[in-house]
């Protein structure tokens, strides 16, 4: 079967979760295609982890429905094709690294010869080969995260769900995670990345969703998102009020402060038009600097600065 004819990796509709009075996830509708690297962004407490746990059947939704790889959420058989790295990466720390991965191979119902081959491969991949015989109790936070990642990839999954995969890692570890995600994408694996480390998402993801208070505020291709929106800083003299007011046809977000003017645009092609408008209006333009928004700017713009509290 080609990727196009396969059911989407994730498809959820109006998923909702209440814990007593508290609404953790209000109304989540989402579709992630096969082979995508999808970033799930939001401030702390936005309901990201609850949403991920519902995908995996760890938490039963209050309402709504969904499918993972074409099977209902929590379906036992499909979970054999899913890999998961939980947020707090707490594992049975009295096992050695090799024993830990072998155990999870058994839980994936992998044949013994496959497990015996895959376990050293994955230890090598995450850079833990020298610590294969060491108990997880002696592992640092970063090492635990690496072994957790190995565990999530053990079964050669079609869908990998990573909940904050880089939060405990140093820069070397983060690069490793990035490389692994890239590698997974090349193999056609779908990656669902739950993160608030925006620089990571910016580098790795194809598409992102912004979530706040349990609702998706916006879903977008990362490329168009970042390339599409830009701010323009202008330094000019003779900025008359009626000229500034006239800029509203290109931007709803114009701020003027003496010689300085800043405005947000949705398209780069508006730049020469604005320049001509200013010059023909008698304004002396000294500088006109377009700047693309970073994902962080976008995040603040979409989610707000209150952190969802």
């Amino acid at each position: 079967m080609s990727a196009a004819s396969l059911p989407p990796a994730i498809e959820i509709h109006a998923l909702r979760k209440e814990f007593g009075e508290k609404v953790a996830v209000a109304d989540l509708t989402l579709r992630v295609e096969r082979g995508e690297v999808f970033g799930f962004l939001g401030p702390n407490g936005a309901g990201k982890t609850t949403a991920v746990k519902m995908l995996l059947g760890l938490i039963h939704p209050t309402a709504g429905e969904g499918q993972l790889l074409g099977a209902p959420l929590g379906d036992n058989y499909r979970r054999a094709r899913v890999g998961f790295l939980p947020e707090h990466f707490r594992f049975h720390d009295w096992l050695t690294a090799t024993e830990f991965l072998t155990l999870h191979g058994n839980l994936y119902h992998m044949p013994h010869d496959v497990t015996d081959r895959r376990v050293p491969e994955l230890l090598e991949l995450v850079g833990l080969s020298p610590h294969a015989g060491k108990r997880l109790r002696a592992f640092s936070k970063g090492m635990l995260q690496r072994i957790g990642l190995a565990q999530a990839l053990l079964n050669d999954p079609q869908l990998v769900i990573l909940d904050e995969p880089t939060s405990g890692l140093d820069p070397v570890g983060r690069r490793l995670v990035r490389d692994i995600i890239r590698e997974q994408r090349e193999q056609g694996t779908t990656v669902f990345l739950n993160s608030h480390l925006l620089s990571e998402v910016e580098i790795t993801c194809d598409r992102v969703a912004f979530i706040k208070q349990g609702e998706i505020l916006r879903t977008s291709q990362l490329q168009t998102l970042v390339e599409g929106e830009l701010t323009v800083e202008v330094r000019a003299r003779n900025l008359r009020p009626e000229i500034i007011a006239g800029l509203s046809r290109w931007s709803q977000n114009v701020r003027a402060d003496g010689e300085h003017l800043s405005l947000t645009l949705t398209s780069e092609s508006d730049l020469p038009l604005i320049n001509r408008y200013l010059v023909e209006g008698g304004v002396d333009v000294y500088a006109l600097r377009p700047q693309h928004l970073s994902l962080e700017d976008l995040f603040i713009q979409v989610v707000g600065t209150d952190g969802g509290l």
Binding site: N76, Y77, R78, P86, E87, R90, W94, L107, Y108
Partner: protein, 278 residues
């Protein structure tokens, strides 16, 4: 299959955490002390000529055997509860459960696997301890109590029953709340047993009824009383009173109730663990 993987994991955890070693070493210490104690009493019994007579000698041997098994019964219950009290609630609280439950398995397989692992440990422990006591008595004095296999099964059932309750509590509450609940229930059964025993001795039906009600709340003490009844000497049985059993012997119906209780506790543990959010 997955159930067996979890059962093995449970066993291995107990081994790695030195629980098995501690239980084994202290068990050996217990049996050593018991063996020496029994040996010297037995030497004294054999030396003292015709008084006490051979029949009374065996009464004393039986009394000592029951005292040993009484402690073994208590230790087995402790072992069943202490090993399992933290197993579900602890894994839920720490988050180690997340990597397990997100695997292609059903939640009942986790609970059943843990139950199997703990039941295996419990069985080995009881074989060592009860088998040790019964065996030492036989080796030293040649005395063997009646119906020891029935007694063994009843003591085993007692451990399994409390294991089921402890697993259910672990799926429902925090570790601490679970421990308070299980030992609270055990305390009720213990107290109820004594009230029943004394009530029966002074022929007060209300006190006996209180004992029966406490056995219905949790039939663990009733199981021990039935086990003691099975293994005690015919004379004590005829007299109908000893520190370890009551004149009102729990009926086979109560034993059947305990079997159902143990099974229902396990089913409830599975049900509660399957429905809860993790």
């Amino acid at each position: 299959m997955t159930t067996l993987v979890i059962a093995r994991l449970t066993f291995r955890e107990a081994a790695r955490r030195k629980i098995l070693l501690a239980a084994l070493l202290l068990g050996i210490v217990f049996l050593t002390i018991y063996g020496f104690g029994f040996h010297y009493v037995n030497v004294e019994l054999n030396r003292s000529g015709s008084s006490p007579g051979p029949l009374e000698r065996n009464e004393i041997r039986n009394f000592l055997l029951m005292a040993g098994l009484y402690v073994v019964n208590f230790l087995t219950v402790m072992m069943a509860v202490l090993t399992s009290v933290d197993t579900l609630s602890g894994e839920i609280a720490s988050g180690t459960i997340h990597t397990l439950v997100s695997k292609p398995l059903r939640r009942w397989e986790i609970v059943l696997g843990k139950w199997l692992g703990f039941t295996g440990m419990l069985t080995l422990y009881l074989l060592l301890m009860a088998g040790g006591v019964i065996g030492l008595v036989y080796l030293i004095s040649g005395y063997s109590a009646p119906h020891t296999s029935q007694g063994f099964v009843l003591m085993w059932l007692n451990g399994v029953l409390l294991l089921g309750v402890s697993l259910f509590g672990g799926a429902m509450f925090s570790t601490l709340a679970n421990g308070v609940m299980v030992f609270g229930l055990y305390g009720i059964a213990f107290l109820g047993g004594w009230i029943e025993q004394i009530g029966s001795f002074i022929q007060n039906q209300t006190a006996v009824n209180i004992g029966i009600i406490s056995s219905l709340i949790i039939p663990s003490e009733a199981l021990w009383k039935r086990a003691a009844f099975e293994m005690e000497s015919p004379l004590v049985r005829a007299l109908g009173f000893s520190p370890f059993s009551a004149p009102t012997v729990p009926s086979p119906v109560m034993v059947g109730y305990a079997v159902v209780y143990a099974i229902v506790a396990l089913i409830l543990a599975i049900w509660q663990f399957s429905r809860r959010d993790l």
